[in-house]
């Protein structure tokens, strides 16, 4: 690793506890590189997570960090951002943590357009609790709680947050690291709610159960099944079938960020105005 980047890690906490071949470390690495790239001030950056394998990432990162309760990271982060809008508040969450138990906080944070950057590590499964299906487990795939194949249709989580009002939406993969660093960097500088879904592999609890020989095969799957938005837009309907789109999917910087909107409330209240 680039020596410049070491300062962003709590080196005494490494090596990490993720399984060999797990994609989570790649995403954490991309996040740190993106932080460095856009030059976020280390002492003005807070990293918040819920519970899950992915949510263990903040422990390794040398910032103010908060490992909360399952699904609630965005709600804790909302309090931090409201209290000190000058902080960069980044949320690290899993597909179970953020889309299942935390789904309500996710959609409402989108609706408010509060200035958080949320990175969802999507491994299509509950890793930490050893392989139960999540809202992002594709239909037909196996999980400990779907031994005959999952029948719950999966969310396209980027569509969900779009419908809920997120103003920056992107998707990357553990395979396409350079692209991932770029889109996280763009998300970090967005003034509003930024959501980045990242495909990552859980060879232990998803791969093994769903006929992936090893982590490499899972990474190759990420390579083959994805296509960047620019290319995707030019494909025919048949060619689009089964493809997962990556890159910046949506960006709107015309909507006011929530803590800025609240500043106006304070101004009004101080003038004694009710409006």
């Amino acid at each position: 690793m680039n020596a410049n980047l070491l300062k962003y890690f709590r080196q005494d906490k490494l090596p990490h506890i993720w399984c060999p071949g797990c994609g989570h470390g790649i995403i954490m690495g991309a996040l740190v590189r993106a932080i460095d790239k856009v030059g976020l001030e280390q002492d003005k950056t807070v990293i918040v997570s819920g519970i899950g394998c992915s949510s263990r990432a903040p422990g390794y990162m040398n910032f103010d960090t908060l490992h909360t309760t399952h699904g609630r990271a965005i709600a804790f982060a909302t309090g931090i951002k409201m209290a000190k809008p000058e902080l960069n508040v980044i949320v690290v969450t899993g597909d179970g943590d953020g889309a299942a138990i935390g789904g309500n906080h996710l959609i409402h944070a989108c609706r408010r357009n509060i200035g958080l950057t949320v990175i969802m590590f999507n491994n299509n499964i509950y890793g930490m609790t050893s392989g139960q299906y999540s809202p992002l487990t594709p239909v037909g795939k196996k999980a400990t709680t779907a031994p005959y194949g999952n029948i719950d249709p999966e969310f396209d989580i980027c569509n969900v947050v779009k419908g809920a009002g997120a103003t920056f939406i992107a998707r990357g993969t553990a395979y396409h690291v350079k692209q991932l660093i770029d889109i996280i960097a763009r998300g970090l500088t967005h003034d509003g709610f930024a959501f980045i879904e990242t495909l990552t592999q859980c060879p232990i609890n998803y791969g093994r159960r769903n006929k992936f020989a090893d982590p490499v095969e899972m990474l190759m799957w990420q390579k083959e099944v994805t296509v960047s938005k620019e290319v995707y837009d030019k494909l025919s309907e048949e060619e689009k079938a089964g493809k997962i789109v990556t890159g910046i999917l949506y960006h709107d910087d015309t909507k006011i960020e929530y803590t800025k909107a609240y500043e106006k409330v304070i101004e009004l209240a101080r003038k004694g105005g009710q409006k």
Partner: protein, 377 residues
């Protein structure tokens, strides 16, 4: 600001108390009979540069309250029974991670949705044992509007002093009661602020207690760069699942409150010197209790009263001493005897314990208590 006399509702007194205590953040979800607190905070906080947010549910309200406190603001949330249940997981998180904050529960009749607009006192035990694990907590109960104001300030002071969540238990009677109250001027109010580290950031351990058992807490964003988790952790804040560190932490969380029980325990009483029986109560029916005792005194009966203000930690020792001198306790409550059981436990059979319950959404009137006194004496 000089003393001023105003007509206030109990819930509004909580709002004014919070603002006076320095509360600058509120996150919650509306529920009867606590909603006036959210409404009042929405109006008052921005006037003093504070922030209000109506979250998507009570869980989020508790979470955001903790987050804002970590960023350095005195923070509060308010709710009623069903919402209080939802907050419990995160209240436990605040206990474990030692984040100062205030949780107000304006109690209504449960279980479940129960009676939304009727008074109840059915969350007394939930306040103590609602979250999982052997958590420690401070809970205070006002019995009138002025006390609602004063105890809200106390709740913030205890939260800051002990680096702990503090629960303020109202009931619908106090929440909606209106009284003319004299609010003290700012210079007459004692305000306590959390202990912040004075060491260099490199030397800071977020869970290294001082001699008083309480660790200083830094604000996020000030360069101390520390980690917080609800997992068992050592002084550095990082998980450590090794004995005896685990029990050391759990016991310290208890001891940092129990060591100061004398300071935390607030009780009022009257006529205990010659009392043969005592009416012990709290909250919105304390008025009935006092009035019944006054009537009984006029009839020449040797009866006194005790008002519990601090409910948790429970004043075991104090009540045991009283029990040694009296024949019986009469305990009126708007539940089936939640505090009665605690008194029973604390007094070791030294006095008879007589419950007086009402669980029909109505209050307990002075005559009912007087009748009970006459039955016993």
């Amino acid at each position: 600001m000089a003393e001023k006399q105003i007509l206030l509702q109990g819930n509004e007194a909580v709002v004014e108390g919070a603002i006076a205590a320095g509360c600058r953040f509120y996150a919650g979800y509306p529920i009867t009979p606590s909603s006036e607190i959210a409404e009042g905070m929405a109006r008052r906080l921005p006037q003093v540069g504070g922030k209000f947010i109506q979250m998507e549910d009570e869980i989020g309200g508790m979470a955001a309250t903790i987050g804002a406190s970590l960023a350095g603001l005195k923070s509060m949330t308010a709710t009623s029974g069903p919402g209080f249940s939802l907050k419990q997981e995160n209240i436990g998180f605040a206990v474990m991670t030692e984040i100062p904050c205030v949780i107000v529960n304006v109690q209504r009749m449960g279980p479940s949705t129960g009676l939304p607009t009727s008074p109840g006192q059915g969350d007394m035990i939930q306040a103590r044992f609602g979250t999982h694990g052997d958590s420690s907590i401070i809970a205070l109960t006002p019995s009138n509007v002025k006390e609602a104001f004063d105890l809200t300030i106390k709740a913030f002071n205890f939260a800051e002093r002990f680096r702990s969540p503090v629960i303020l238990l109202l009931d619908e009677i106090v929440g909606h009661m209106r009284e003319n109250v004299k609010l003290p001027g700012a210079d007459e109010i004692e305000i306590i602020n959390r202990k912040r580290p004075t060491c260099k950031p490199e030397e800071y351990f977020p869970y290294q207690p001082d001699e008083d058992l309480i660790p200083p807490i830094a604000d996020y964003g000030t360069g101390y760069r520390f980690h917080i988790t609800g997992l068992y952790h050592d002084k550095t804040g990082f998980p450590k699942g090794q004995s005896p560190m685990i029990s050391d932490l759990l016991l310290r969380l208890h001891d940092k409150i129990l060591k100061y029980q004398d300071e935390v325990t607030l009780i009022e009483s009257k006529y205990l010197d010659d009392a043969e029986i005592v009416v012990l109560s709290y909250g919105g029916i304390m008025g009935s209790a006092i009035s019944a005792v006054e009537s009984a005194r006029k009839e020449g009966k040797k009866v006194g009263w005790i008002k519990l203000i601090t409910i948790w930690p429970f004043p075991d020792q104090y009540l045991l001493e009283v029990a040694k001198k009296v024949k019986a306790f009469i305990i009126p409550e708007l539940n089936l005897g939640q505090i009665q059981r605690e008194v029973q436990r604390a007094t070791l059979g030294k006095a008879e314990i007589i419950g007086l319950h009402r669980v029909d959404g109505d209050i307990i009137r002075p005559e009912e208590i007087l009748d009970k006194i006459r039955e016993v004496l």
